[in-house]
Amino acid sequence: MTTESVIGALKKARSGVGNAGSGKPASERERRRRFTHSRAFVFFVLPSLILLVLLNLYPVIYAGLQSLRNGDLLSAGNFVGLNNYIAMVQTPAFWHAAGFTVVFTLVGVFGSWAIGLGLALLLRTRIPAGGVFKVLLLLPWVVPVVVSATSWNWLVATPQSPLPVLAQALGLGNVLFLADPTLAQVTVCVFKVWISFPFMMMMMSSALASVDVNVYEASKVDGATAFQTFGRITLPMISRSTYISWILMTIFCVNDFPSIFLLTGGGPVNSTQTLVVLAYSTVFQNFQTGPGVAIAFMMTIVLVIIATVLYRQIRKVNIE
């Protein structure tokens, strides 16, 4: 094919004409047909689009307006500008909740990722009854959190519960897993890791499965150790999935209301209160809709920033 013929073919392609076509411009009738077709398309899509906008945008706008008012669940209240936001960031409870949200999220994301990745690597090796093992490992994620929280409450709540009895037998004394503020924080973080690692295991398993085996064989030929293979091949190769799972788990952790509320209710003495639990108690226990929604909005802004940073990281990985 000569250069001229290639250029000609490209021109045809740009004008929407197939390489083998006649090259004649589309007729008026054809254009009208396409216009009618696209109009029908818009007509059919529009109801869904309107519904989506109403379902998603309307509540967000309404909530945004609520955060600027001093109403409660029954009345809209008066416009107070940014007072709710200012008042909330001036309370120690907000900063305590924000601090614990960070801790809870960091432990939840990286704890579940480390365990999930470890198990995903383990499940790549041939182990007896691997399928059963996989299903059992998925249970904490599959079981409804209400059931999990009730089970954990049974495990740790009273001095006669199995884990306090075990701690007593080990000479650790009367360990108050939920009643001691620090231990309660540890307990809810561990609970979060426990219910989240199967998700990470699934994400990492699928990422590991997509890595070309030839890369590992080549590294073996080059004499790479297992540690070097993991650090310089496995981790970079699964980094895209890792970042995506971190984004998702960050959102899951920051927005996780039931795990904490069912296990401790945010107590004792607010020690396990995260921002989402604080937002709930502000709106539904104290009937302060404006400040509660303001907390939720601030959470959303922070989540969007975190997600944006991590998405950029993903794009960087794609470019590299």
Partner: protein
């Protein structure tokens, strides 16, 4: 071809025509009155909560729909409303004028809706009940707990109470009898502790507000409480400090379960069942709960006399309210009169609803058959006070958003039960939080 034929017969125009017809039919159906409305008058919508076990609502519905209105008045329809998100259910329905004409609900709900101008005050109804005998049938002072400056926001329906319970076998084993005052109560706790049993049994964990109720009950028992006569928070008083000092002493002496600050209702019941609680504080339904074989050993204690020489306790008069959004105010009142004259079975058939508001129900043989219930009515009911104590007896709007299941109350209870505070510090923090929530 068949497909082409179908396509041409089911045109877009035809489709829009059918859709329009369906929408019009649905709209007409929605606008029409329900089948149970009876005649031309619109039905009175009655919304009630699941106050008891599974048998409560079916029986309640049966009583409701059996209402035969006088000529020109509407019949009653029944809707069970779940406790989950009930505040949102009521607020959205009332705001959109699609709510009930008559309903029960949260204990302080009537005062919140009254503040919004949505409640039809029950003064006329109360006046009519003074003539037909229903008013005199209420326990003394009960109706007035629902009286506001503008009128009666609601009428009493069932009583949720906070009382003491003990396990008679564990008490016998400890060689003690039911206490009568704070000192003898402390002695009971000490005796029970020797047997590895807790004497100050309660819970204040996730979803459990009982702990904060009990602490408030001790303040009221000592002549204190949370609100003054101006309906303003007044927590840091000598009576309250003395009461909380007493509780802190019980906690620090090891008479309370160290994990109780985070106990749910289920945890509390499991501790009674495990015979770890020998004496404690709960609602009237404790023995009927999941306490296993211990149920038969559980006995209601007598009210304690405080160092101030006073007695007192905390109760929550759950109530029924009428809304302005009704097809007929006279119809709402007529239905409620019928309902109160016929609701006895909800107690005599033991549906699990709280204690009755009417003396006549408490005098029935079925109710008298339970000695614990009889003791509550005889010894506790006369000394009960509401959240409004010591300033008054009538509930009011700010109670809902300052103390009734609010976060500061839970924090206060958990702080006291944790034992690492002073009474004054905890009460001051509570006062500050309540002032912040006042509207």
């Amino acid at each position: 071809m068949a497909s082409q034929s179908t396509g041409s017969s089911f045109s877009r125009r035809g489709f829009l025509g059918i859709a329009g017809g369906v929408a019009a039919t649905a709209a007409l159906a929605a606008c029409s009155t329900g089948g149970g409305s009876g005649g031309s008058a619109k039905a009175i919508k009655f919304w009630n909560m699941p106050w008891g076990g599974t048998e409560f609502n079916p029986l309640d519905k049966k009583i409701t729909v059996a209402y035969k209105p006088k000529s020109g008045m509407g019949a009653a329809t029944y809707q069970e409303i779940q406790w989950a998100n009930f505040t949102q259910t009521f607020s959205s329905a009332v705001a959109s004028n699609t709510g009930p004409a008559v309903s029960s609900g949260g204990g302080t709900q009537a005062f919140q809706f009254a503040e919004q101008g949505k409640i039809a005050y029950a003064d006329n109804l109360i006046d009519s009940w003074k003539k037909n005998g229903i008013y005199d049938d209420f326990f003394d002072g009960l109706v007035d707990t629902l009286k506001t400056d503008k009128g009666y926001a609601a009428v009493p329906y069932n009583l949720d109470v906070r009382i003491s319970w003990y396990n008679k076998t564990l008490m016998q084993e400890a060689g003690v009898e039911s206490p009568t005052d704070w000192d003898s109560y402390r002695n009971v706790c000490a005796a029970l502790k020797k047997n590895g049993v807790y004497g100050f049994g309660l819970g204040s964990g996730a979803g459990s507000f009982t702990g904060s109720h009990i602490l408030t009950a001790f303040m009221i028992n000592n002549g204190g409480g949370l609100f003054n006569a101006d309906k303003k928070p007044d927590c840091v008083t000598p009576e309250n400090i003395e009461a909380m000092d007493f509780i802190l002493d019980l906690v620090k002496s090891g008479y309370s379960d160290p994990a109780s600050a985070t106990y749910t209702s289920a945890n509390v019941q499991s501790q009674w069942k495990a015979k770890k609680f020998g004496f404690g504080w709960d609602g009237a339904g404790l023995a009927a709960g999941a306490v296993g074989d211990v149920a038969g050993d559980l006995v209601v204690g007598s009210p304690l006399t405080s160092p101030s020489g006073k007695k007192g306790g905390l109760y929550f008069p759950n109530n029924i309210m009428m809304y302005k959004n009704t097809p007929s105010q006279a119809g709402s009142e007529a239905f409620l009169t019928y309902y109160y004259q016929n609701m006895k079975e909800l107690w005599t058939k033991k549906t699990g609803i709280g204690l009755p508001p009417l003396k006549s129900i408490s005098e029935t043989p079925e109710f008298q058959a339970d000695p614990n219930n009889v003791k509550i009515i005889k010894e506790w009911q006369p000394i009960f006070k509401t959240w409004a104590a010591p300033g008054g007896s009538g509930l009011f709007y700010n109670i809902a958003n300052t103390v009734d299941g609010t976060a500061p109350m839970i924090t206060f209870a958990q702080t006291i039960l944790g034992g690492n505070t002073t009474s004054k510090a905890a009460l001051t923090a509570l006062q500050t939080s309540m002032e912040g929530l006042m509207k």
